[in-house]
């Protein structure tokens, strides 16, 4: 029809619906040279779009991108791990990202005319830097895919049996311990719950990433496909987080989970229901003194809650009440002032992160809406353009139609940019959400600590009670010449009980100290990694905003230029 300055746009002015707008063929900066954006910009753009591929953003992983040419989703993002050999908890020192992502900025960069170039160029060079150093580090890359419906094979009352879903869990790794570099298993969600419970037992005091929720209600209410997909994504995220935890990635539990096919064996301490049942059976015997009323040392390393020993539970409960309401100070208290301050600070931090996360969501929504409305405006003007052209009786109409088309094209382009901007913003600000999830893990670790402390306190109280009883018996017995056979026997028994309890106490104290140490290390790790992750988030967010603002500005500057003939004389 009319002369068009945008060859790619020619066929696109006939759209009437929003879906069609999605497919609008606009100037593709990668293929045309008419836009001000050139090669370096295009690589920045495709670098941005490669983020939108599978790679999940995880707080502990560097947000470095694969190069534009990369298309293999299974190739992991480069993970930098330099095991700190001196620390037997082996928490990993994150690398410095400054050199990797940004070349040093000079003062002139802000004044450079072709600003887009400088930003993207820096990103480009940083991308190549990161790529080359990836091959020397070890990695575990986990993918969850291929959900399949399966039948429960055991007898059940319902004809046809229960069905459940399994997921294919593929691992690629270069860590020698695994024995193989690539392997898969099929697992159901129940296995994940098991894994999570066992990790909780074995790694008390650590910040263990929380597992996905069971979502019982949602599983009934949602569409099956949607729910399964949602779960698949959540599982993948969870397993990846586990694999990035410097300590947990080496755990047997994880290894077994990832490699060994078949039902995950439930250890005796994991089955809550059976534990409670056992405990209920044991309790009467304990109360009547028929079985040991003491806590076995090996059980002391687990918290009382959720355990079999109901009596122990009651004792610790009584102790905790005494702690809170009793007049006297408990035998041992949380003395570490540093820790207490840190705990309060973490609580505050969590609130601020939560707040920021909420506002980030609002921001994302507002950016989304902006893009949408801009696009709708563009579409409306495209329709107007078409209309004026079809019905034109005067040249002034054709001129106006041309102006409208110019504006409409720009609006649609800008709309696209807003939406791309937003997709990236989501990825960056997602770090905030991730850290909220991590806070749950922190709470878990802190409560490991307090329950271990409670166990110690309880045992100490118990010991002092037992000692007091023994003293009384001995005093009474010594009054009888020749000894009191029954009393002596009782004293022997008591002494035995004291001995066992002493052992348990020592174990409990060791466990408590161990957990305290784990807490400390994890807090340090959290601090270090959080700083890095948040800084990267900020950088990513800001770079993203700058990049897209520049693109959007260019689009409109062109229109302003082309309509400059209408400019009023006053500024």
């Amino acid at each position: 029809m009319m002369g068009s300055e945008n060859p790619g746009f020619e066929e696109s002015h006939l759209f009437a619906s929003r879906e069609e707008m999605e497919n609008l063929v606009l100037d593709d900066p990668l293929t045309t040279t008419t836009t001000t954006n050139n090669n370096s910009y295009s690589s920045f753009r495709s670098a941005n779009s490669s983020i939108s591929d599978a790679a999940t953003r995880h707080p502990l992983s560097p947000p470095v991108l694969s190069t534009p040419a990369e298309s293999d989703p299974l190739l992991s993002p480069p993970v930098f791990r330099n095991p700190n050999a001196s620390d037997n908890n082996s928490y990993i020192e994150p690398p410095s990202y400054a050199d990797v992502i940004f070349s040093p900025f000079d003062d002139n960069s802000a004044n450079e005319i072709n600003r887009v170039d400088s930003t993207s160029h820096d990103l480009d060079s940083s991308l190549t830097l990161s790529r080359s150093s990836s091959s020397t580090s070890d990695y575990i890359k986990i993918t969850v895919s291929n959900p399949k419906k399966e039948q429960e094979t055991t007898n059940s009352l319902v004809p046809g049996g229960n069905t459940y879903y399994t997921y294919l869990i593929t691992t690629r790794t270069n860590i020698a311990d695994f024995g193989s570099s690539e392997f898969s298993v099929r697992r159901r969600f129940r296995d994940v719950v098991t894994l999570s419970d066992r990790l909780a037992e074995s790694y008390r005091g650590y910040f263990i990433p929380p597992r996905p929720d069971k979502n019982v209600v949602e599983s009934q209410v949602m569409q099956k496909q949607e729910f399964v997909e949602q779960r698949r994504v959540a599982l993948e995220k969870y397993l990846r987080r586990l694999a990035e935890h410097p300590v947990i990635r080496q755990s047997d539990e994880l290894k077994v989970f990832l490699q060994v096919e078949g039902r995950l064996p439930l250890s005796t301490s994991t089955d809550v229901a059976s534990r409670m049942l056992d405990g209920a059976v044991k309790l009467p015997k304990q109360l009547f003194g028929e079985s040991t009323a003491v806590v076995a040392p090996h059980e002391v390393v687990q918290p009382a809650k959720g355990g079999r020993d109901l009596l122990r539970l009651f004792k610790e409960l009584r102790q905790s009440v005494a702690n809170d309401w009793g007049g006297s100070k408990p035998p041992v208290v949380e003395e570490d002032k540093v820790f207490l301050e840190k705990k309060e600070w973490i609580h505050d931090l969590e609130q601020q992160i939560s707040n920021a996360s909420q506002q980030a969501e609002s921001l994302v929504k507002a950016q989304q809406d902006m893009g949408e409305t801009m696009g709708e405006l563009g579409l409306a003007f495209i329709k107007l353009t078409k209309f004026e052209n079809e019905e034109a009786m005067y040249n002034s109409q054709r001129v106006r139609a041309a102006d409208m088309k110019c504006l409409a094209t720009a609006a649609v382009k800008a709309s696209r940019f807003y939406r791309e901007l937003n997709a990236q913003t989501v990825k960056h600000l997602d770090t905030l959400h991730e850290y909220l999830g991590l806070m749950l893990a922190v709470h878990g670790a802190f409560s490991d600590r307090s329950s271990a402390l409670l166990t110690v306190q309880t045992l100490l109280s118990e010991l002092s009670t037992l000692h007091a009883r023994a003293e009384k018996l001995e005093a009474a017995s010594s009054k009888i010449f020749g000894g009191d056979k029954s009393r002596i026997h009782k004293i022997e028994e008591l002494k035995e009980t004291i001995r066992v309890t002493e052992d348990a106490k020592n174990v409990a104290i060791r466990e408590y100290e161990r957990i305290k140490e784990n807490n400390k290390c994890e807090l340090e790790r959290l601090d270090k990694e959080r700083r890095v992750d948040f800084l990267n988030m900020l950088k990513g967010f800001v770079v993203n905003q700058v990049g897209y603002a520049e693109k959007i500005s260019d689009v409109w500057a062109k229109v302003a230029e082309e309509t400059s003939g209408y400019a009023k004389d006053s500024c």
């Binding site: 410095s96 400054a98 940004f102 040093p104 900025f105 003062d107 802000a110 600003r115 931090l349 601020q352 992160i353 707040n355 920021a356 909420q358 506002q359 980030a360 609002s362 921001l363 507002a366 950016q367 809406d369 902006m370 409305t373 801009m374 709708e376 405006l377 409306a380 003007f381 329709k383 107007l384 209309f387 019905e391 009786m393 005067y394 002034s396 106006r400 102006d403 409208m404 110019c406 504006l407 720009a410 700083r531 948040f534 800084l535 900020l538 950088k539 800001v542 700058v546 603002a549 520049e550 959007i552 500005s553 409109w556 500057a557 302003a560 400059s564 003939g565 400019a567 009023k568 004389d569």
Partner: protein, 400 residues
């Protein structure tokens, strides 16, 4: 800041040679007067002109919105065929009637309205315009209150309305309810164009208005986000905390810029679009007038024919009613010719008006698009600059 908006279209400095006829009007200084439900806004209307019919080089009067309506209605009555410039709507929502934004939008629209009239070669001759621009406030109030509601029409006009209704009814009864329309394909095309155009424009304007809202919403969310970032920064402390605080501060700066741009967008882009829609509605009113005029012309022509036949009959029968009939016929003929003239005037004027309208709108839209693009580019640049200024600091944080 009074700008010269002379009919010649070219911009002139206020010190143009007085030999050139010029007239320029500005509507300024909105002031709220009165109390409660009776409250209203008054405007200062300043006229600068060297037209001989006008008093002095400058005249200032106080006017209110209903005075403008009076002017528009008078012009619409007298200058059928001309697209009378549109007025901003009465505010439907009480809440916003006195908001600063609404008042400013209305003032701008009223200013444009009067200037369009003043720069139209026919409308500017209007006596009503002179009255509007010069009469003292009491006179204006008297004139204005005359025109409210049904009392707008003089008794003769009222009669005409009743007659029209009557004839319409009898037409229906007699089964003559076919609307009389021109069989003019070009005009049909124009009508179709006008009606369609209104729909398209209304949609564009709707999205433009939404876009203004989106700017405000984005501004608000940036402000909230900034605050949250600052709080998080305070909690984090040290280098990272500073980074968050800086980010928060920039967010708040950008929030303010967005609010500003939203206002600009409203005044320089959305308003012109709304104005365009109103203009099209004004054209529709003129189309209505033309249809009326055409119908009248046809009816009178038909009635005249009947009268002629009747007269001939009477003359043949040498009735003594011939004289009366002749007189009636002459009157009718004059009326019919008058109606034809009226219609033809409208026809001619409309043709001129449509050309002028298209040209004017291309100009108006061009300006609006330019301002829009400028505003968006300016905003995007601010955004880029603000965020970019953070990068060196963030860089420093990483290497620290």
């Amino acid at each position: 800041m009074e700008q010269q908006r002379s009919l010649s279209g070219s911009s002139q400095s206020p010190r143009s040679p007085s030999s050139q006829p010029y007239i320029s009007v500005s509507v300024t200084d909105p002031v709220k007067l009165g109390n409660g439900v009776q409250a209203y806004i008054s405007y200062r209307v300043i006229t600068k002109t060297n037209f001989p019919e006008y008093q002095g080089p400058e005249k200032i009067v106080i006017r209110r919105y209903s005075d403008f309506i009076w002017l528009r209605d008078r012009l619409f009555e007298k200058y059928k065929g001309i697209f009378i410039p549109p007025l901003p709507e009465k505010s439907a929502v009480e809440k916003f009637r006195f908001s600063a934004e609404f008042i400013e939008m209305r003032r701008q629209a009223l200013d444009i309205f009067v200037n369009r009239i003043a720069s139209h070669n026919m409308l500017q001759q209007s006596e009503d315009l002179r009255t509007f621009l010069q009469a003292d406030e009491e006179t204006m109030e008297r004139l204005r209150s005359h025109e409210t509601g049904i009392f707008k029409k003089k008794p003769a006009d009222l009669m005409q309305i009743f007659k029209d209704v009557q004839s319409k009814v009898s037409d229906v009864v007699l089964g003559k309810e076919k609307p009389v329309e021109e069989s003019n394909p070009e005009y049909e095309k124009l009508k179709h164009y006008v009606f369609e155009l209104e729909n398209h424009l209304a949609e564009a304007q709707k999205h433009a208005y939404r876009l203004v809202k989106r700017h405000r919403e984005l501004g608000q969310s940036l402000s909230d986000f900034g605050k949250a970032a600052k709080l998080l920064g305070a909690c984090e402390g040290q280098v990272l905390g500073k980074a968050f605080s800086d980010l928060g501060a920039k967010s708040e700066v950008l929030s303010a810029k967005l609010q500003k741009e939203a206002h600009q967008l409203l005044m320089s882009f959305e308003e012109p679009l709304k104005d365009y829609v109103r203009a099209v509605q004004s054209i529709k009113a003129t189309i209505g007038e033309r249809a009326n005029a055409f119908r009248q012309q046809c009816e009178l022509a038909e009635t005249m024919k009947l009268k002629e036949i009747n007269l001939d009959k009477l003359m043949l029968t040498r009735s003594d009613r011939v004289g009366e009939a002749e007189h009636e016929y002459k009157e009718l003929k004059a009326e019919s010719e008058e109606a034809t003239r009226r219609f033809e005037t409208i026809f001619r004027l409309m043709n001129e008006e449509i050309v002028r309208f298209q040209e004017q709108k291309t100009q108006d839209m061009g300006v609006a698009f330019h301002e829009f693009a400028k505003g968006q580019a300016r905003l995007a640049n601010s955004v880029a600059d603000a965020w970019r200024s953070l990068l060196p600091k963030l860089e420093a944080c990483s290497s620290a």
